[in-house]
Subunit: 232 residues, 2 copies
């Protein structure tokens, strides 16, 4: 999409110098802890979530390889969300000072990071609309499509069949539903012929219908980066 200069590439590689394995279920950042490092997720799938006072959990976002995570540490002294691994992961920790150096030396990378922020903002606002204004069935369909699409961006081998890697409890925490109701909605999508399930694998048997049920709109269609400053 954008071709980086050799210098830019080197600057980004500097952020990924160190690596750290994170086993499934482990946490790299805990809500209200003092923020330390930020990370680039090298491999695996993670999630950010918050706990409410009544003990319920809201999953805010899923993270995949290539995502920059724990970035809110740039602004806040204390983390506002918990970030934990849904599969065995590898992350590359880096310091805020290293990040500041990248911004100082590479204005085009700064611009690209701002663009990524906007893409994430769009994803969050889409989810906001889904939680605020759509039915349980639409929410479940939406999360299935969204996760399939993001997995496909990293592994072109994935098409209509994929392993979600989430419990129904987790689907519920992401969609604002109870696990019980998630189960019922999955069954309904299955009964209506849009979906098949077996041993944790999902298969879209009628993708169009599923997209209609989910109110799906593709947000990765119209990126426009013509305005970026020159690379260094």
């Amino acid at each position: 999409m954008v071709v980086l200069t050799a210098n830019e590439r080197r600057a980004l590689e500097l952020l990924e110098e160190r690596t750290r394995p994170v086993p499934r279920g482990a946490t790299v950042q805990r809500e209200n802890d003092t923020t330390g490092e930020m990370f680039i997720l090298r491999t695996g799938m993670m999630m950010s979530s918050v706990l409410l006072v009544d003990g319920s959990r809201q999953i805010l976002r899923f993270h995949f390889a290539g995502d920059m995570i724990a970035v809110s540490g740039l602004a806040y002294r204390e983390a506002s969300e918990t970030i934990s691994a849904l599969s065995d992961c590898v992350v590359c920790p880096f310091e805020r000072s290293a990040f500041a150096a990248v911004l100082a030396d590479h204005p085009r990378l700064a611009a690209l990071i701002i663009v990524c922020n906007q893409v994430e903002r769009a994803a969050l606002t889409d989810r906001l609309a889904v939680l605020g204004r759509t039915s349980a069935k639409a929410r479940v369909a939406a999360i299935l499509i969204d996760l399939r699409n993001r997995m496909r961006m990293l592994d072109a081998g994935i098409s209509t069949s994929f392993a979600l890697g989430l419990t129904q409890e987790e689907i519920g925490d992401a969609t604002g539903l109870t696990a019980v109701h998630v189960n019922r909605m999955l069954r309904q999508l299955e009964d209506e012929g849009m979906l098949a399930r077996e041993a944790g694998r999902f298969t879209f048997t009628d993708e169009r219908a599923l997209e209609r049920a989910a109110n799906f709109v593709d947000r990765y269609a119209g990126l426009d980066l013509g305005w970026l400053p020159a690379g260094r």
Copy 2:
């Protein structure tokens, strides 16, 4: 919080060179239109919203003086949200190229913009948790507290009494509720002695109780900007 250098101040003033009045109810950006300018909101109150296929609306965010709006135009060819004026407003339009120039010349401003993105991200994820996991009463209480707080940041004269400037329909579109149910929740908060209403003005009669009802957490408490690169 951060003292800008004279150069930095001048660069930002360049973005605010032109001004344009926007009457109440008018739209500065329409969903799916080709994105053009970005804006700094000089005076007034605006909102971003999206329309779903079934005709329902979700209000994503409220904007106040000083906010940089329509920034998603940096990433997308087409606007993902509608931005319209809730009161008579004045905006300062600027071009992406002007923005790119700021980033190229002033790395610390780039860093500050990224920080602002993170603050907005935190606000959006808070709202996500509210929509996903809290009751109608909590959502209504939360929006009242949030808007009061943001108004107070611009006008220190506001304390427990303020004019919201929203219809109950709009409160509903922001909280994911129907106007009818918003009305019932307002009445309930009133009956429970947390709130008084008259002629569009709200008065918090028991702010602690209201905060408890809303699950309120203060997100503007712990900003940390020690890591920024040097100013130019």
